[in-house]
Every structure is written in C-alpha cells, then in structure tokens.
Symmetry: C2
DNA sequence: CTGAAAGCGCTTACAG
DNA sequence: CTGAAAGCGCTTACAG
C-alpha cells in the first residue's frame, strides 16, 4: 500500500506534485501529471477513506445503454456476485456524463473511490478502453474484443453459432433470410452480422444489404422489422434477430398479423438469459450466458486487484445454439402481407396447433 | 462538513473515541458508540477520501432478490439516473452478506463510503429499515411502507387497482378466480393479495385459501400454477398473477397445453415496466412504473443529502390498470385438463383468431 | 473503556 | 509549473 511519498520518490517529484496529479489541480503540466499517474497505477496506489483502503470497483458504462436491458441487468448481477466474494462493492459510473473536463480516467476513477473498473462500453467508445489501459488503471473490458495485448477483456463470441444458426435455416430450405440488429454498434452484434454473411457466402447465397435491418432494441423495433419483411416483394422466409427484445417484438407482431411462426416465417432469436422460454413458440436462438459473462469479468478483476494475476488476458467465452419451436421449413408459397394488411396469397388458417420440433441442445461449444 | 473534532465536542468525548466509534474498534462501550454515531449522523458527518467528501449513495439489498429481475433492474435504472443529476454515484451493497459482525448500519455504510442509502428490502427485513432510521442515517426505503413517521419511504400502492382488476373479472362473469404470487413476502405483494380478498368480499364471493398459489418468480412457477388450476375439479376461470414472470410463465404453459387465453381462461398479470406488450395475447395487467419509482427514491434521497428536505416523508405513487387481450368472459362450460393431459370436456379449437378487446387505459390514478 | 499525544497521509497557501 | 513547509483530519500505540 504505497503512500504518495513513495510515488513521489519513484516519479522524482515532491509529494505536493503527486497530490496535484492525483487530484487534477490546476497548474501542473500534462507531462508531469501523466508520469506521476503512470507511476501511481503501476505501484498499485489505492484510493483511501481516511487511512483505510476502499474496496470498491466501478461498473463503467457510457449511457448509450439502458441498465434495465436484460443483458445489462444480467451482466451486472453476475459481476456483483463474483465481486462480492472478494469483498468488493460495485459502483455504477457513467464515464461520459460524470467525468470532469480535463480529468484523466485514472483521476475520475480515483475521485469515485474505485480501485478498478469493469468497462461495459460499446464500439464507438473503444478508444476509452485503450486510454484507460494505457494509463495502467486496473480494468476488464466486458463484451468487446481487442487485439492489443495490454487490454484485459472478457467477451462471448457468438459468430460461430451465428454461422451454425444460419446453416440450420439454409438446411431447412430457406434462401432469403433477413437480419435484424439494434442500432448501437458493438463487438457482439458485429460478430453476429459477420456470421450471417459468412454462412450466406459458404452456401453461395448473395448478401443483400436491403435485408439487414437496424432498429432500437425495443419491442416496437422488432415489430417494424417483421412488418417490413412481410410486405417485401421477394420476401424472406426467415429472420435472424440478434437481440432478444427485437425477436420478441417480431413474434408478437406475427401473432397480431395472423402470421404463423414457423409455418409462414421462421425466426431465430438471441438470448442473453433464459428468456427464449418466455415466448410462444419458444425461440430457436443463439444464446449466451450474460450472468456468467459478468461473473467472469468480476472474478478476473478481483484477481488483478489482489495481484494474483499480473499478465494481461483476453478471454472469449462460448455461446451455444438451441433449436426450439420458432423455426421450420419455409412455406411452399410464401404469403405476403402488404402494409395495408391485405394478404397477397391467402392461406388457410386452421389453428394454433403448431407442430413442435423436439428441443435439441445445440453446440454447448467447448 | 463537520470534522471528528466537532463531533467529539458535541458528544462530549475525545476525538480518539469518535474515531473508534466510527470504525468499530474494539474496546468501546456500545453506549458511547451509539451516542457518538447518533451525533455524527445528526451533524451530517460525511465519509471522506483524503480531505474530499465522497459523493456515493448505496443501493442496499439483502440478497433474497435477484438484481436482474425486471423490477429490480428498472428501479436501479431510475435511481441511477436521478442520482446522477445530483452528482451522486450508486454503490450496490448487500447488507446481509457484507456487513461485519457487530458493526452498526451506520458503520457499515461509512466503511462502504456512502453518504446515504436507498433501501430495497423485502418484508422479513423490515427491522433493518427501522434500525437504520433510528440510527439517523440518511435513507429512503423503496417499495415498503411504514406507519412510523421517521422512516422515509417511497412505494407504489397497487391495492386499489388490484381491487379494480378483480372487479373487472367479476363483471365479466368470473366467480372462481385464482391468485398467484411469488414466495418472497413484501409490502407490494401483500397489497395485491389484500385487493384480491377485498374485491371478493365486496361481491359476496368466498375467499378460498386453496386458490392462492405461492411460487418462485420464475417462468416455471407461473406454468405450475396454470397447470394446477387447469386440473382442479371446480376449476377457476381466471387467474390474477401479481408478478410479470409468473404471468408470462402461465401464458406460455397455456399455449403449450392448447388452453386458449382468454377463451378457456382469463389472465390478469402485473407489469413493472412495459413488458405486458411482450406476450401474446397482450396482458391485461395492473401496472406500476418501476423506473419512475426508482427515480423518485433517488430524487428524494438527493434532497435529504443536500439538506433541501428536512422533514421525513412517506410517498405513495399510483399504479394503473390496463385492459388488454388476455381477459374475457368465462367459458360456458369450463374445460378441465388433468395432469395427464386429458381433457375432461373437449371443446372445439377453431383457431387462433382471438377477438381483441380494444385497449382501454385504466385508472392512471391521480 | 477512555484520553493525551505522536504521527501518517494528504492538501494547500506561500515562495520562487 | 514545482517544492518546502504548515497544517487538517484522522488513527493508533501508550498510559491509566
């Protein structure tokens, strides 16, 4: 537990200068400040309350996300649980809103009294992760991936299972498959789009940009995609929704329009928790365990903070693909429903007795 | 911003004793400790990092809850947002797991570096709220109600709308109505049970304990209730599920069993967010706005901490009742499905063309 | 169980 | 922009 005296010694400055660097006082050169902060981080300088070390860790987000989205909530739950085991509390920090002008991330985190951070940050803010890593502040990036080996990260690669999901649809006979994602770019969702493209390519099917939909991660967004797809001239017979809320919105809209899933259209969804079982028909989905992902990030950060782990790490966890009831062969003669609600190829609507394919556990990949 | 010197003066002890009281050092009498802590709380003593005051607030829970339950997640989101406006960070604190033996709540919160707490605590831990209030630590209790006027609380009373929901079912012709709740008692859910009983009484219907089901707040729990209800000899024609997950589990099970909602059974659910629109048919539900509830708690606590608000308060927010598609008149001849899946009164299953009652906005009560 | 006093860790005018 | 030094706020042996 080095004091500012030790930091001052190592950095070759006075304790007053160390104090100024840590507190972002005016009248300190950026060069000196950065040198001092780098020394402080590498020496493991810790925020203290009085003379006691604080045991808080930050959950840094940028405000583009909604904390109540099932993924964020599940990740939080996992992180809180695993950090609690090591005696750490979790502090929620909005790095975009609350960081002061001119403050380095190290200063911001120190001011918030945290000793390390879990960075839950979307793609457009990847630079933030790079900066924090270069400052040497203890961190784990959650759900993004970096090649640079000095950035610690934990994520889940859903690309292989996205390919698998697409190949399953293609094997069922689907040739026109739409792709629906939310409108906040992050690594996760890019993986899934890449999987979609790759599978199409593998089977000689063209990638058609007009079949890629981007909407806010809401029920309404998912419904819009379904309606648009159903009104297309050469309409897709399946949709891969890479967000749970979007998928549920799509299924809901299908019920309301009298479009049968999977007879009229097949839907593959995405599930961060166990909510694929909440909808009817049960969603065939690419799944990741967000609670586990959060827990892994928490465990890793604990190891970094206790000094148990020195080397940087890049962990990729597996997703899995689960076949349930929302997918089936494409219809022989696809119905199309115009935006005015008129069907262009009337089909009989016998009932809701949807045949249920047996639930097959996909690749609980290694 | 009083220092320990000022606290010592007011409490009539030395600064050493104040320090010991704040830190739970051995060798201090409980009497002295409590007196010192009371003075510290009433003087507004604040945790400091170095010489700077911390701006953290705790979200105290007890671990019986799951942070990823839609209600908890929504409440957190609201609290984080409103606290952020006042420059406060939110720290997640498990008061049961992390409080040390012999530590007062004030000491625990001080050690965690928080200046105030939002108490999200279930019924069996009501004493915790009383203790914290009596210690004088700045707090707002979320989603419980206290008569004692020195406990600050913000909650939502869903009893009136529970009565309304029941009366709506009764007006539709239902006479046997089951009630399903989760198995963690808290004020919210007790309100709903009381509303259920009151409405039955108002209409001369008997309260039958065997129609009250308690299950964990999971999809499986909700499914179990539906299955049990469907196999009862004199089976209920409607269920009031006072938890979203339970209601969704029930609807899902109905689809799987070929039980039509609302033709064969009416379902009234509960919604903390907007997820009644995620299921088909859209849930008729008693609704509360959990994000708003969390935001209100955050705003109030901010006012307490800035000294803007001195007097204790008890805020009750309104719920509302929304009629959607999952309710209708009872069937003329109720089908019954034995646990072996055999129907005892076969009915024709023409289709999924469920007539949709127009969506009526209920009592967005004052 | 409590206090007087030494002293740690930090911040902050003051000087240059 | 930086340092030497005063001093705040707290903790902790030591004494009783």
């Amino acid at each position: 537990m080095p004091s500012i005296r030790k930091i001052a010694e190592r950095a070759g400055v006075s304790i007053a200068t160390v104090s100024r660097a840590l507190n972002n006082d005016l009248g300190i050169s950026a060069k000196t400040r950065d040198r001092v902060l780098a020394v402080a981080n590498s020496a493991g300088y810790k925020a203290k309350v009085g003379r006691r070390v604080t045991n808080s860790v930050g959950f840094a987000y940028t405000g583009e996300q909604t904390l109540s989205h099932p993924f964020e909530a599940a990740v939080l739950e996992g992180a809180v649980k695993s950090l609690g085991g090591g005696g750490f509390n979790l502090v929620l920090l909005n790095v975009k809103r609350d960081r002061l002008r001119g403050e380095t991330y190290t200063q911001f985190f120190r001011r918030a009294g945290v000793r390390g951070v879990i960075l839950r940050i979307v793609a457009e803010s990847r630079d933030i992760c790079r900066t924090i890593a270069s400052e040497g502040f203890p961190h784990v990036v959650l759900s993004e991936r970096f090649e640079s080996s000095d950035i610690n990260c934990v994520d889940c690669d859903s690309k292989p299972d996205s390919v698998r999901a697409m190949e399953y649809l293609i094997a069922l006979g689907h040739r026109q498959i739409a792709f629906a994602t939310h409108n906040i770019p992050d690594r996760d969702h890019t993986d899934r789009l890449e999987g979609y493209r790759e599978a199409l390519g593998n089977h000689g099917l063209p990638f058609r940009p007009e079949l890629v939909f981007k909407h806010p991660a809401t029920l309404a967004g998912g419904a819009t995609v379904l309606k648009m797809v159903m009104s297309m001239a050469e309409r897709p017979t399946a949709i891969y929704y890479v967000d749970w809320l979007l998928a549920v919105g799509g299924i809901k809209a299908a019920h309301e329009m009298g479009v049968r899933v999977p007879e009229d259209i097949s839907i593959v969804g995405f599930d961060d928790t166990n909510m694929r079982h909440a909808v009817h028909p049960t969603l065939t989905a690419v799944c990741q365990n967000a609670v586990k992902l959060g827990a892994e990030a928490g465990t890793r950060l604990t190891q970094v903070l206790t000094g148990e782990r020195k080397a940087p790490f890049q962990i990729t966890m597996p997703s899995f693909f689960e076949i349930n009831e929302s997918t089936g062969p494409p219809p022989e003669e696809p119905i199309r429903i115009a935006t005015n609600g008129r069907r262009t190829a009337e089909v009989d609507q016998v009932g809701s007795d949807i045949p249920r394919p047996s639930v097959v556990r996909g690749s609980e990949a290694s």
